[in-house]
């Protein structure tokens, strides 16, 4: 019974163990004076313990920054996607500017951002917003305009007006695309929050996320704590991705083909 549920865990577990083995092996190969660059797994583990308060507090701040930006991005991207789906003319008019915005390197504009919106949460949330926004807009718009033509004809048959078509057909049909965008954005959001910290972080009142912490550990040459910080960031990414996978499953599994069980 229990072993059946644990069975799918074996492959990643084994890889994880092999990976840690490789890690130790790598340490053996490196010249002694370079060992500081790659702390051992147990040193990182100890660093987790030593700095867990700072890491938790920083993770929390990063999550807040990421969530605020992410929600804002989801909301605005959805509205924009609906607008874009309304006509090819609107798309032609707006897409080039969207592309331009997307191409702008976040790292370069973040100091300017700090000047405009202020350091700390506003900047971090804005950077997260910018990073999450585009995959959401692009994917959702694609979903809204890719509706099965037969279904569109069906709605024409029923003399449905534009808004009925949107509400009852295009939007539900676009959900799988939306969730694809959400998945991508959900992984990028914590990264955005952490990177945002590098230029916009703020240590006021227990502020400062994982990026800020990384700067400190880096300046103090604490590689083990730095690795722990990086791993915490990864854990956050997992958290976001997991939450979105769950929501996606709840919304789609009862009907979408991607959730069909395949017999092998």
């Amino acid at each position: 019974m229990l072993s059946a549920r644990l069975k799918p865990l074996w492959p990643p577990l084994l890889t994880g163990v092999a990976f840690i083995g490789l890690w130790y092996l790598a340490r053996e190969i490196i010249a002694p004076e370079r060992k500081f660059m790659l702390p051992s797994p147990h040193a990182v583990w100890i660093a987790f313990g030593e700095h867990h308060e700072a890491l938790l507090s920083a993770s929390f701040n990063t999550v807040i920054g990421a969530l605020v930006g992410f929600f804002a991005a989801t909301l605005i991207a959805s509205l924009l996607a609906i607008t874009l789906s309304l006509s090819g003319l609107i798309r032609a008019a707006l897409y080039p500017y969207l592309m331009m915005l997307q191409m702008m390197p976040i790292i370069v504009i973040s100091p300017i951002l700090v000047l405009w919106v202020g350091a700390g949460l506003p900047s971090v949330a804005t950077i997260t917003f910018l990073i999450s926004f585009f995959p959401l807009v692009v994917n959702t718009t694609q979903g809204l305009i890719s509706t099965d033509r037969k279904l569109v004809e069906l709605f024409t048959m029923y003399r449905a007006d534009r808004w009925q078509e949107l509400r009852y057909l295009r939007i539900p049909a676009a959900l799988p695309y939306f969730f694809t965008g959400l998945r991508i954005a959900g992984v990028l959001a914590p990264i955005g929050a952490i990177v945002g910290d590098f230029s916009a972080g703020n240590s006021a009142g227990n502020g400062g996320g994982l990026g800020f912490l990384a700067l400190i550990y880096s300046a103090r040459f604490k590689m083990d704590a730095l690795f722990a910080t990086v791993l915490s960031g990864c854990a956050l990414g997992f958290l976001f991705a997991g939450a979105i996978a769950l929501i996606s499953r709840l919304s789609l599994s009862h009907w979408h083909e991607s959730y069909e069980k395949v017999d092998r």
Binding site: A26, E33, F36, M37, P111, L215, A219, F221, C234
Partner: protein, 331 residues
């Protein structure tokens, strides 16, 4: 999610790449000139704070001791200490507190001589800013490099709270925000801002009692294996510094001007004279300070301070981070 594995795998691959490099690569012989080639990593873009090295290079002092020194410019985001620790370059520079922190974490670096007797770091404010002394910084935000050891020191020494903003490159933010306070080099940013028409004032960090050396550092194992090269390098560098301070700095300034587009002759002249006026390089003769010298007791005192503030987690024996064998004999 693929990214964590990807980060680690690429890290491991990068390290495998480094693994095989031999230390002896740090000093190679130029076949044409039969000089020993070594590298000096600067901690920023070429500027008067590196003047002595350029002076030594331009006036042939390195060649005279059988060295060919490649001076590698630094910049924002550059991390010279880990580079030295990893054995990628033989020499660089830094602050003595940073070196102590690095050694504590197991980085194999060693202080071989002093570069400046006193630290030119200061707090930069607009002239109109209400804060006039360091203690007044309580409750304010300062833009500085997070993790700098002087920050917890200031907090503890004056019993104040300071909010930290990460340092961003360039003065745009400072100019735009009359309330912004940031860290600076007293020989550098104030002049540039005054030239731009922004009135500023500075608070020297060393006035608080926090006054590390600026030092020349070397890759630890390299020092053990090539003491002659290190000795030659230190001697020629200090000779270059002496000439830069006491003689005509033109050779160094010409080279700096070539390598750094943003450096103006006026800026260089200001930095140069500020360094002399405030005796950063040579220090106070009456205190027993001289170009390149390191006072063991002063180093001990500084280490104790860092221990007290909690930046150092345990007492650090001197021999782990400094060697006095290459210092010039006392005058």
């Amino acid at each position: 999610m693929k990214s964590p594995s990807l980060i680690f795998i690429s890290l491991v691959f990068a390290l495998f790449h480094f693994a095989g490099c031999q230390r002896s690569e740090l000093a190679t012989t130029d076949q044409a000139t039969s000089l020993t080639k070594v590298q000096l990593q600067l901690d920023w873009f070429p500027e008067p704070a590196h003047g002595g090295f350029f002076q030594a290079a331009e006036k042939g002092y390195y060649a005279e001791v059988g060295l060919e020194v490649e001076i590698i410019p630094g910049g924002p985001g550059g991390r010279p200490i880990p580079k030295v620790a990893a054995g990628q370059v033989a020499f660089s520079m830094g602050r003595s507190d940073d070196i102590m922190l690095a050694v504590q974490e197991g980085l194999p670096v060693l202080i071989v001589a002093a570069l400046m007797q006193h630290d030119p770091q200061a707090i930069l404010l607009h002239a109109s800013h209400p804060v006039n002394k360091l203690a007044d910084l309580d409750g304010h935000a300062i833009m500085a490099y997070p993790g700098s050891a002087w920050i917890p020191y200031l907090k503890k020494h004056y019993g104040i709270e300071i909010d930290l903003l990460p340092m961003s490159y360039g003065l745009a933010r400072f100019v735009a925000d009359p309330e912004l306070i940031q860290a600076c080099f007293v020989t550098d940013e104030p002049f540039r801002l005054e030239q731009q028409g922004t009135a500023v004032k500075t608070l020297l960090l060393s006035d608080s009692g926090y006054d590390p050396y600026r030092v020349i550092v070397a890759h630890g194992p390299f020092v053990a294996e090539n003491p002659a090269v290190v000795r030659a390098f230190v001697a020629a560098s200090l000779r270059g510094w002496a000439d830069y301070i006491n003689g005509d700095p033109a050779p160094a300034h010409e080279r700096i001007g070539r390598e750094n587009d943003h450096m103006t002759p006026a800026q260089m002249e200001f930095s140069h004279s500020e360094m002399i006026r405030r005796r950063f390089i040579t220090g106070d003769l009456q205190e027993g300070e001289s170009l390149g010298s390191l006072d063991p007791q002063r180093l001990d005192g500084h280490a104790a301070l860092l221990l007290e503030v909690g930046v150092l987690s345990a007492p650090l024996p001197r021999e782990r981070y400094v060697t006095f064998e290459f210092l010039p004999h006392s005058p």
